[in-house]
């Protein structure tokens, strides 16, 4: 942590994992030279590959750049693959067949690559979990099994390891150049493996099934408990209140409406935090007005976005418009429509109530001027109020948003 220039893998001009680019950056030399060095080292019993894999596994990606979607340039990789192949062929021609040390080198390299891949496919926060739980942190990468990708990797990697192991055992311990012996060895090894599988399979299968049914049961039980809690806390209490207030129509309607809303949300809606999403904030404001004034707010929201200060002001202005409609229009139903478009967010609050003549509103009434028109203007939006006596009122709130802001919101 003390020395500032740490070694990182460079994501910006990488070919495979950015190891070579990272080292080149770190040492201040040309990246091509580093790559050629790796390729030449490949000749020494696969040392180049081994080193590359080791660097890959150990060296972290440069922080901050993680979001940069660097494309792997496979076309560029070709010359280096060619160099590597040439080196390997040369080695085979010059020094004859690969010896035991060579085999070991290859095996270690393959294992290192596999471990490195698993390690780097995994999410950082999961890695942190391993760090906390495991005595040996990297063990987590091998044991963890939630991820489907990890499963595939493990399946393929395991298969390759088994195959290499069997072939290796047969090849190393059989008399040289005797192909039949190699095949026989492989067959016997496979039989041995199959035997282990047959012995272990029922136990594994039973355990797996048991665990699964146990888990399913637990989930079902949890859902039932949650439903029971919901029914008890809300529905039964509401029904009890309705029985007690049966004579008071307004109260009964308010209770029933509130209960309907909460059950509806619970059944059909993905929940979102009203402090974070525009639609959720608007719906919450509508719900509050419904509960306070015993009216119905028909809420329709098209699209959604995150909130910020300006959007919060828009919601507050819409809430004020709803309150005005509930208080003065003398109707039971108010429509609330909001639409999020790329360039603007608009909200419409409409009632079919008494209506008023906007010109005759006295100067000292601040509800409309301060809370709606003024608030929208302060935040760069505008508010229009259209009303005619007898025709009802519509409040239109429009808040322009810049395009990059809206796209940034969507990407988040």
């Amino acid at each position: 942590m003390t020395q500032p220039p740490r070694l990182y893998r460079a994501p910006e001009h990488r070919m495979a994992a950015g190891v070579a680019a990272g080292i080149a950056d770190h040492l201040g030399i040309s990246v091509v030279r580093v790559r050629i060095a790796f390729m030449v080292l490949l000749g020494l019993s696969g040392l180049g590959l081994l080193l590359y894999a080791a660097f890959w596994a150990v060296v972290p990606l440069r922080p901050g750049d993680a979001a940069v979607p660097a494309r792997r340039d496979l076309g560029q990789l070709l010359p280096f693959v060619a160099i590597g192949l040439v080196v390997l062929v040369l080695q085979t021609v010059l020094f004859g067949s690969v010896g035991a040390a060579g085999t070991a080198g290859w095996l270690v390299a393959i294992i290192a690559v596999g471990a490195g891949v698993i390690w780097h496919q995994s999410a950082p926060e999961r890695r942190r979990q391993w760090d906390e739980r495991m005595p040996v942190p990297w063990l987590g990468a091998v044991i963890e099994e939630n991820d489907r990708r990890a499963f595939v990797l493990r399946f393929i990697g395991g298969g390759v390891l088994v195959a290499v192991g069997i072939i290796g055992v047969a090849a190393v311990y059989s008399p040289a150049q005797n192909f039949d012996a190699v095949v026989n060895g492989v067959i016997f090894a496979l039989v041995g493996l199959a035997g282990v599988g047959v012995v272990a399979a029922p136990v594994l299968w039973r355990t797996y099934n048991q665990l699964r049914s146990e888990r399913e049961g637990r989930i079902r039980e949890q859902e039932r408990a949650e439903l029971a809690a919901m029914v008890h806390d809300q529905v039964l209490h509401t029904l009890a209140l309705i029985q007690r207030n049966a004579a008071d129509t307004t109260t009964v309607q308010r209770l029933a409406r509130g209960q309907e809303r909460s059950l509806r949300n619970w059944l059909y809606k993905p929940t979102a935090s009203p402090t974070e999403r525009f639609a959720a904030a608007l719906e919450q404001a509508a719900a509050e007005v419904e509960d306070t004034f015993a009216i119905t707010v028909e809420t329709v929201v098209v699209g959604d976005r995150g909130t910020d200060e300006r959007v919060g002001a828009l919601v507050a202005a819409a809430r004020e418009a709803l309150v005005n409609a509930a208080r003065h229009a003398g109707v039971r139903t108010v429509s609330l429509y909001a639409e999020v478009e790329p360039e603007q967010v608009s909200v419409f609050v409409r009632d079919r109530g008494k209506g008023f003549d906007p010109d005759t509103v006295e100067d000292h009434r601040h509800g409309v001027r301060g809370s709606i028109v003024g608030r929208m203007r302060r935040h760069g939006g505008r508010a229009e109020i259209r009303s005619e006596p007898g025709e009802g009122t519509e409040v239109r709130l429009i808040l322009p948003i810049s395009r990059d802001q809206s796209t940034a919101e969507r990407d988040r």
Binding site: Y268, R332, E339, R350
Partner: protein, 228 residues
């Protein structure tokens, strides 16, 4: 609305022909309630509590409009619609459900319902909706208009297989927006300086497009909202 008189103003004894309405709902209590409330406006010619019963009795009684519940055992309203649409194209369906989840609403409309209202609707409004459906018009609640706008606004620049079928015209979108804002057809006509007839045409076109959109678009729409 409690304060409004619900007497037989329209469609009463003096009207030439009262609409024949059929109820499909698996809750007998609810059927009884609707029957009692609608009795003054229309003739309730029959009711059914299951899909099989509904299919048999609708065929026998040939009503003008069927009020259809969405959630029932054995496939719900969709199954009834699919069974009846071919054989009895003259019967109009109006979905009447307690659910206003997007997938239920759009699903029923795509299956061929001419409108969708929720069970909290007042009796007068329900009678009006039945009349409009019987006249060949579509009944769009503000919520339904919102769902449609949402579906088409989700990917405005996505390539579509058949633009004529899948895209709403700007005018249709405008009409839908006003509907979603709680405007009545009459008010939309006034706002856009067109006739009520034109508004009705636009709304019917939207409904037709919804029914005929291709499967691909629908499945993508549903997947976007994690409905499937």
């Amino acid at each position: 609305m409690a304060e409004q008189p619900t007497g037989p103003v329209e469609g009463g004894a003096g009207a030439p022909a009262r609409l024949r309405v059929f109820l499909v709902d698996d809750h007998a209590m609810f059927r009884a309630g609707v029957r009692a409330e609608l009795g003054v406006h229309v003739d309730v010619v029959g009711e059914a509590g299951t899909v099989a019963e509904a299919v048999a009795r609708i065929a026998a009684s040939t009503p003008d409009v069927v009020l259809l519940d969405v959630h029932m055992p054995d496939g719900g309203g969709r199954a009834v619609l699919e069974a009846m649409r071919r054989s009895h194209p003259q019967v109009r369906f109006l979905a009447l459900s307690v659910s206003d989840a997007a997938e239920d609403v759009i699903g029923l409309i795509r299956a061929g319902a001419r409108g969708y209202v929720t069970k909290t609707i007042s009796p007068d409004e329900l009678a009006g909706a039945i009349r409009r459906v019987a006249d060949g018009d579509a009944v769009f609640s503000p919520r339904l208009a919102g769902f449609v706008l949402d579906a088409f606004a989700a990917r405005p620049d996505a390539p579509v297989a058949d633009p004529e079928l899948d895209q709403l015209t700007n005018r249709e979108r405008e009409v839908l927006r006003l509907l979603a804002r709680g405007y009545a057809y009459k008010e939309i006509a006034k706002e856009l300086y067109i006739s009520i007839k034109t508004v009705e045409t636009h709304v019917s076109n939207v409904l037709r497009k919804l029914q005929m959109s291709n499967r691909y678009e629908l499945s993508r729409w549903a997947a976007d909202r994690r409905l499937v």
